[in-house]
Structures are given as structure tokens and as C-alpha cells.
């Protein structure tokens, strides 16, 4: 018999959204359990947050800049604008006090004034190893431990369990021990992030195999705008393990200057203040400009171009010691040398289709918070807000509800699926090979898309699903930290998520933000200002559109060529 634990609210994920969901649900009096596939506060995308946006309502010009950035550049008009207004209130009133109360120190000067990155969109930093995310999450981690909220780390959630009407819990594999158990919950908050390791180069980390998307899909939830997939352009090419080191194209502390991009001929082809002054995270514009260089034969997606800060005085850039240390560790001088870069798959705009007032998904009992949703690109602040909304809504609902029945049959079927992979065979094939193949398929599909290459990717994914997955064999059948076993489970998640993403891309017949279809090379606000939804019901793929309202900031043009659009 599989062990079954019980809780009011089950939170899956330990980043900005998951931690806040847990804390806020607990504040409302609900019993909370947290399951994290990595280590809470040490895994996932949130620790990569470089700084946090500083929202004020008193400065009207700053506020207009902020809105323009949020809606136009950051979300390509796909954001829920009413959500943006509520999130803005949260950022103004709650976000900073909540974290500062726990002891976070945001940088100040010797007089006690907040030091900020004073670009058009201001932001604050609270550094640990050059990033703000790690310190924010460390404080939340310790608060969660202080309150003794049950926390299951290095535990992979393998499926959501439903009783036919609503989600009733989840199955968990503690991969440190190999113990498989279930958590029965009144409500489940999924917060598994928006940055998955689905392509050969990705900012998503090892444990991020899109389990959240895949489990939600299998539970019947709607997924929207998965194809709006960002890529970093200025990330370190070598060593490979440093593909997550980001050479910031947005202003660093102490300067309004930014890194520049240079093609193989040494010509500068991108700098934020020149090419996208309104954007704080100008990745989509960088991508388009790199695309032109690639097409001109002056760069490759994986190298042949460089980034650097050598136009900035050395003392300024060295003051931002984290960047200088990366250079130094490679034997380079940050004030003189440039580093070869490659693109890395980064944040996904899309995700679960949610009602942003509660973060409820289309499946009862299932909430989604943070970048996993489809309503906003993400970021530490917004994800925290989502966590709060989801945590509070899930807790309030849970307090009025009895524990749902746990479907025993589904539980045993999932146990059979998970343990089915635990077969050793000296000959293989190994799950890692299938995993690498999926990443290669998505890397090959890359940035420039069309009907043909997306169909080809779909077929290639199908081949992995049908030919490789049933034959996967492990090196050992040990249940203890068996990376092969995890790789097999990851591969299944990745296949579901990637297939949904490619299908979603096939449906969108325009280009927008980071999504470029050369067969539809224009932005089409008339037809595609929508949540582009896919779902799988009884094995059948469904799709539909849900219009996005733009009450506060509508786009200026209905239709314009992709490479001319300023967002």
C-alpha cells in the first residue's frame, strides 16, 4: 500500500511563487505541505533574479514607463492588464515590507538611501553572488523552516491525482530514498516555474523538466501561449555548464551603460540604450537583431558572436564584482575582454490558463502561480504576488471543504508507471539519451519557425515517445538517487510539454515577441491578441482562443511587419 499523507493545501515548487503561496496559505490558517524537486531556495529559476523592480505610484512618469514596459516590451500585449494593476498595488505595498521584515537587506548608501538601478525602469538589488533571488529565497526558506511547514525536498511529483471532478492530491517520488507516496490535498498549487531545460542550451536547471506543465496537461488543464518562448542572447558559450551566466544587456548597478553585442566581424549590433531604450529586459529585440546577423552569416546561434563591457570604465564595471569575477575566473579582464556567447532557452511567457483573481486553473482544485501561468511573463515580484493570490484562494477554499476522495486505482496505476521504469539492462538504451534527443529536437527547431520545421519537430518528438520511451533501460534498479530513473520520468514530462508547445506554435499564425514564424512574419493584433489555448482531453488535442482585453494600454497598430514592431 502506498503511504498517503494529508494536507489542506499542497504546494508544488519552491521558488518565488511556491514559497509565498505556502507562507500565505499558512497565514490563512490552512495546513500546508511543500514539495520541491530540488532544494527550496536553491533550485529553479527564481534564484537567477538579478534585481527586483521598484514600483512607485507617486512618480507618474515612472509609472507610465513601467506600464509601457510591462505590457508592451515584457509581455507583447499578452498580459492580463487588470492583473497588472493589482500586481502593481502588491509591489507598491507588500512585496518589499514582507521580505524586509524577514531581514532582507536591499542595498543602500552610507546615508541610508536605497541604491537603485536608475534606468527608465528602476530596480533594487539585494545581492548574494551577484543576484537578488538567492537571498530572498534564503529568507523565505528559513521562515518556512521556522514555522515548521512540512517540506519535502528532492522529491519529484510524478502526477496529479483527480477524483473525476477535481484534483485530489499528487504522487511523489522521494528520489533520495526511492520512497513513493501520495499527498491527499483539498487544493493543489502548482508553482513549477517558467524556465525549463527543454533545449540543448537552456537557463532551466537540471530538475526543471516541465513536470508542472505536463502533469497539468495530463490532468486535463488548458495551456496557453506556450510558444511565446524567450531566449537569452548574451549568455556564456563555454564552458557549457556556464550557459546560465548572463552578461546583462540591461543597466548594471552604478551605470546606465549596458553590455554590447558584437558579430564575428567585430561590429557592434546591439546595445540596450541605443536599440531598445524602453525595455528593461530587451531579450526579444536582441534575438531579432541576432537573427539578422545569423542570416547574414556573421554569427551563429551557438557562438561566433561576443558580448562585453569593455566600453565601460573598468572601475565601474568592477564595482559590480559578480560580473568581474566570472571574467576573472576565465582569466579574462572584464574591462578589456569580450566573451563568446550563445543563445539559451529562457522564460516561457505561456503556461496554465488561469483566472488571475484566484489563480485557479480550468481544473477544479488546481491552482497555478508564477511563471507557470499564462497571464504574465514572470519575475520574482509578480511570481510572489501570484503565490499570495493562489495561496490565499486555495487556503480559503480548503477551509470550507472536506478532503476529497483519493482515487486508489489512479494511485496504483501511477505507482505502476513510475516503477515500470525501474528496469536495469546493461545494454540500454539509457533515458539520458532520450532526454538529450528531446533537447536536441527543440534546439534544432530554435528561433526561426515555420509550418514545416514545427511539423518535423512534432514527428521527431513522436518518434522518441513511441520508439525510445518504451525501451528505456537503466544502469541499475537501485531506488536510491537513481539519476537514470529520474531521467526516464523527466523525459515523459518533457515530451508532453514540448509537444504541447509545438502544437501551440502551429496554431499561432503570426509572429510576436520572441516567437518568429517566417511564414507569418507580422504581428497580427486583430486575430492573435489572445490566449492561444491547447488541451488534451481523452487523448485528443483541442485548441481554442480566448480574447485578451487591453483596457489600459492597447497596441497602436493592428498589424505590422515583425521586424519593424517595437516590442
Amino acid at each position: 500500500m502506498t503511504k498517503v499523507l494529508e494536507t489542506d493545501v499542497l504546494v508544488i515548487g519552491g521558488g518565488a511563487a511556491g514559497t509565498n503561496a505556502a507562507l500565505k496559505a499558512a497565514d490563512r490558517g490552512a495546513q500546508v505541505a511543500i514539495v520541491v524537486k530540488g532544494l527550496l531556495g536553491k533550485s529553479g529559476c527564481s534564484i537567477f533574479a538579478a534585481f527586483t523592480p521598484y514600483f512607485t505610484k507617486t512618480d507618474e512618469q515612472a509609472r507610465r514607463n513601467r506600464w509601457r514596459f510591462m505590457i508592451r516590451y515584457y509581455n507583447h500585449y499578452l498580459a492580463d492588464q487588470e492583473y497588472c494593476a493589482r500586481m502593481e498595488d502588491y509591489m507598491c505595498e507588500e512585496f518589499y515590507p514582507d521580505l524586509e521584515r524577514l531581514g532582507v537587506y536591499w542595498r543602500r548608501d552610507a546615508q541610508g538611501n536605497l541604491e537603485m538601478i536608475n534606468a527608465r525602469n528602476r530596480s533594487l538589488v539585494a545581492h548574494k553572488q551577484g543576484a537578488t533571488g538567492p537571498i530572498l529565497l534564503e529568507k523565505r526558506r528559513r521562515e518556512i523552516q521556522r514555522r515548521a511547514l512540512p517540506l519535502y525536498e528532492e522529491c519529484a511529483v510524478t502526477s496529479l491525482l483527480g477524483d473525476g471532478e477535481r484534483v485530489a492530491g499528487a504522487t511523489v517520488l522521494d528520489y533520495r530514498t526511492g520512497e513513493f507516496f501520495a499527498i491527499r490535498a483539498k487544493n493543489v498549487v502548482l508553482a513549477t516555474g517558467h524556465s525549463d531545460y527543454l533545449a540543448t542550451r537552456a537557463t532551466g536547471t537540471r530538475e526543471q523538466s516541465a513536470d508542472g506543465l505536463a502533469m497539468a496537461l495530463r490532468a486535463g488543464a488548458e495551456l496557453a501561449n506556450l510558444e511565446i518562448q524567450w531566449w537569452h542572447v548574451s549568455d556564456v558559450l563555454a564552458p557549457k555548464s556556464w550557459m546560465r551566466y548572463h552578461l546583462y544587456p540591461n543597466p548594471l548597478m552604478g551605470t546606465l551603460e549596458t553590455s554590447r553585442l558584437y558579430n564575428s566581424a567585430g561590429e557592434m549590433f546591439y546595445e540596450q540604450k541605443t536599440h531598445s531604450p524602453g525595455a528593461s529586459a530587451p531579450y526579444t529585440e536582441q534575438l531579432r537583431r541576432l537573427c539578422l546577423q545569423v542570416q547574414a552569416g556573421k554569427a551563429r546561434w551557438d557562438g561566433g558572436y561576443t558580448s562585453g563591457y569593455d566600453h565601460i570604465p573598468g572601475d565601474i564595471i568592477r564595482a559590480y564584482q559578480h560580473q568581474a569575477k566570472v571574467w576573472g575566473k576565465l582569466g579574462l579582464d572584464v574591462a578589456r575582454d569580450r566573451i563568446e556567447c550563445g543563445i539559451t532557452m529562457h522564460m516561457r511567457h505561456g503556461g496554465l490558463n488561469v483566472d488571475t483573481r484566484t489563480m485557479a486553473t480550468t481544473v477544479p482544485g488546481l491552482y497555478a502561480a508564477g511563471g507557470l501561468g499564462c497571464h504574465y511573463l514572470g519575475g520574482f515580484g509578480p511570481a510572489s504576488y501570484d503565490g499570495k493570490v493562489a495561496g490565499e484562494a486555495a487556503a480559503e477554499d480548503a477551509l470550507r471543504r472536506a478532503l476529497p476522495r483519493l482515487p486508489q486505482q489512479a494511485l496504483e496505476a501511477e505507482a505502476a508507471r513510475v516503477f515500470g521504469f525501474l528496469q536495469a539492462d546493461a545494454a540500454g538504451p539509457r533515458p539520458m539519451q532520450a532526454k538529450l534527443r528531446v533537447r536536441q529536437i527543440m534546439w534544432d527547431l530554435g528561433y526561426i519557425k515555420n509550418e514545416k520545421n514545427m511539423q518535423a519537430a512534432l514527428a521527431a518528438l513522436q518518434e522518441v515517445r513511441e520508439q525510445s520511451v518504451p525501451r528505456l533501460r537503466l544502469q541499475s534498479a537501485s531506488r536510491v538517487w537513481n539519476t537514470g530513473w529520474l531521467d526516464a520520468l523527466d523525459t515523459c514530462s518533457m515530451l508532453d510539454a514540448c509537444e504541447a508547445t509545438v502544437r501551440s506554435g502551429l496554431n499561432r499564425k503570426e509572429s510576436r515577441g520572441p516567437f518568429y514564424r517566417e511564414d507569418y512574419p507580422y504581428v497580427d493584433n486583430e486575430h492573435w491578441l489572445c490566449r492561444n489555448i491547447v488541451a488534451r482531453v481523452d487523448g485528443e488535442w483541442r485548441s481554442r482562443q480566448q480574447k485578451i482585453e487591453v483596457p489600459h494600454l492597447p497596441p497602436e497598430k493592428n498589424r505590422e511587419p515583425f521586424f519593424e514592431a517595437d516590442y
Binding site: L39, S43, K128, A238, L330, M432, L474, V480, W481
Partner: protein
């Protein structure tokens, strides 16, 4: 490159073994890239942790040729014997359990205990107020220092170890914190059991001056409240120097109340060789002109309080 990797699966193996792998060198390669190659290309199911790959999460530290290193940060070497961190139980292969560290952390109340109620954002705080903890705040809990600590390596101590002391010291030196950190440092973390060997510092990827900026401030706090042998000894040492102008082993021992029989054998042997005079414990020569020295010391001590 030649890798010798520690393999141990406690659920199957009776004892650890080493497996060797040949890994092609790539420019700028990190230790992590070599492990990834074994896992991905050679498809070997070695257990190892990596989460961020960019020196933020601190999950990937391993011992390489006997020294703890953050795998994602340090370059490869031609021949590497890669083993799990020391002083922590092994889960499998290179993966160690962080549970003992977490349990010890819980004992030092690792959250801010505010002296006064939180005043709202931004609270009054200057960069100078938090300057003493600037380096401590860079700690990513990779536990390399715990692995390098020879006191922990003896396996028979209630010393908390450098990583815990960094965490405690960050809070203890936080002007907002009002918890009894001195008592925690003295009696829970046993800060005076640090042997001042600095073995923790060269292995710290965050380059924290652990002894000077984390441990010694705690020792000073623990000294003020302290009844531990370490605090008593420091007190006796200073007293002796003030009385005589120099330290003397017998006198410091006597003043510390350090008459343990265990040390008697050693003392007798030293006495036989003329290294120790028991009469020094109480009497002994005082340096002429001591008055000035004593005044100078006392002026400085006062300035610190």
C-alpha cells in the same frame, strides 16, 4: 582527462569503490562539465547534485583530489579523484545529506529576531550598519568549509563548524537582531572550539574571511558572556600578560582554573626538561616598565566596549 569517481550506493553496495572515466578536455571546462560528460555522454548514472551551474545555489561542492571545490566554478585538472564532501553522510556517490547541517542550523535560530517592531519599507538602515556582514552575506551554504574543517573531521566534537558560524555571525552582527546570539555562539555553536587553522578559508568559493569576519566577532561576544573553557582561557591569558608583560603557560593554566589531571602528565614531562616551572603559576618575573603597557592595553579594551 582522467576521472576517478567515488561510487557508493548504500542500498546495494557493501563498500565504496572508484570508477574511472576518460573525458575529453574542452576549453574552459569546469569540474561540473566533466561530471556532466560522464552522466550525459557516457550515460553513467552517477549521483551528483547540480542545480544552478552558476555559483548561486551551492549544491555541487565535492572533494577533488582531497580538497572541497564548487564543481560548477572551479576548472578541471588533468587527473581528478572526485569524492563526496567530508563530514556529511553519503546518500549516493557524490551526493551527501544536508540534513545534519539543517538540523544544526535550526538550533541557532537562523531567522532575524527583531529588537524592535518592523518599521515599514524602507526601514532605517545604512550601508555602514551592515558593512561588517557584507562578505558573510555572500555565503551560499555549499558546505565546502564544513568539509575542510579538521575539527569536524575528527568526528567527535560539538563544534558547529564554519558554515554554521557564518550564518550565526551574520545575524549576531545585524543591528536589527535582538536574539541572545552570544549565548548561542558560546554554548550551542561552541565557537571557542574553532582551532583557528584557517582551513575553511581557501576552500570558500565566496572568498569569505571566515575566521576574522565571522568567527572572531562571535568569539568576542561569547567572551563577554562566557563561562566556557575557551573564554576563561582568553581572560586568563590577558590577565597574565597584564601582570607580567608576557604570557606564561603555567600562569595561564592556573588562572584558567585549568588543573585537569589529564594535562598533569604532560606538565610533569615538560617540567623535567625545564620547559615549565610550577612556581611560575603564581609567582614569576614581571617585566620592568609594565605600567605603561598595562595602561595602553586597558585604554584599547575600553574603546571597544
Amino acid at each position: 582527462m582522467h576521472l576517478r569517481v567515488y561510487r557508493f550506493d548504500p542500498s546495494v553496495d557493501r563498500e565504496p569503490r572508484y570508477e574511472s572515466y576518460e573525458v575529453p578536455y574542452q576549453p574552459r571546462m569546469r569540474i561540473m562539465d566533466a561530471l556532466d560528460y560522464v552522466h550525459e555522454v557516457l550515460a553513467v548514472d552517477i549521483g551528483y547534485r547540480w542545480l544552478c551551474g552558476s555559483k548561486k545555489c551551492g549544491s555541487c561542492a565535492v572533494n577533488v583530489n582531497g580538497l572541497p571545490k564548487l564543481a560548477c566554478w572551479e576548472p578541471v585538472q588533468e587527473r581528478m579523484t572526485i569524492e563526496p564532501l567530508s563530514n556529511l553522510p553519503v546518500i549516493r556517490d557524490l551526493v551527501t545529506s544536508r540534513a545534519p547541517y539543517e538540523a544544526a542550523l535550526a538550533k541557532i535560530s537562523p531567522t532575524l529576531v527583531r529588537r524592535t517592531e518592523y518599521a515599514g519599507f524602507p526601514e532605517p538602515l545604512k550601508s555602514t550598519d551592515v558593512a561588517p556582514t557584507a562578505h558573510l552575506r555572500e555565503c551560499i551554504q555549499c558546505l565546502a568549509c564544513q568539509s575542510a574543517c579538521p575539527v569536524l573531521r575528527t568526528g567527535d566534537t560539538d563544534f558547529a563548524g564554519p558554515a554554521l558560524l557564518v550564518a550565526l555571525s551574520e545575524l549576531a552582527q545585524d543591528p536589527r537582531d535582538g536574539a541572545e546570539r552570544a549565548a548561542l555562539a558560546s554554548d550551542v555553536a561552541n565557537v571557542f572550539k574553532c582551532i583557528s587553522c584557517y582551513a575553511c578559508e581557501p576552500v570558500c568559493p565566496a572568498e569569505i574571511p571566515i575566521v576574522r569576519e565571522a568567527i572572531e566577532p562571535l568569539k568576542r561576544m561569547a567572551y563577554r558572556v562566557g563561562s566556557t573553557p575557551g573564554a576563561r582561557r582568553a581572560h586568563a591569558f590577558l590577565d597574565t600578560v597584564k601582570q607580567r608583560g608576557y604570557a606564561n603557560a603555567a600562569a595561564v593554566a592556573a588562572r584558567s582554573g585549568d588543573f585537569g589531571l589529564g594535562a598533569l602528565g604532560v606538565a610533569l614531562k615538560m617540567r623535567r626538561r625545564g620547559k615549565l616551572k610550577f612556581s611560575d603559576a603564581l609567582g614569576g618575573r614581571a617585566t620592568p616598565g609594565l605600567e605603561g603597557l598595562r595602561r595602553t592595553y586597558e585604554t584599547s579594551e575600553k574603546e571597544d566596549k
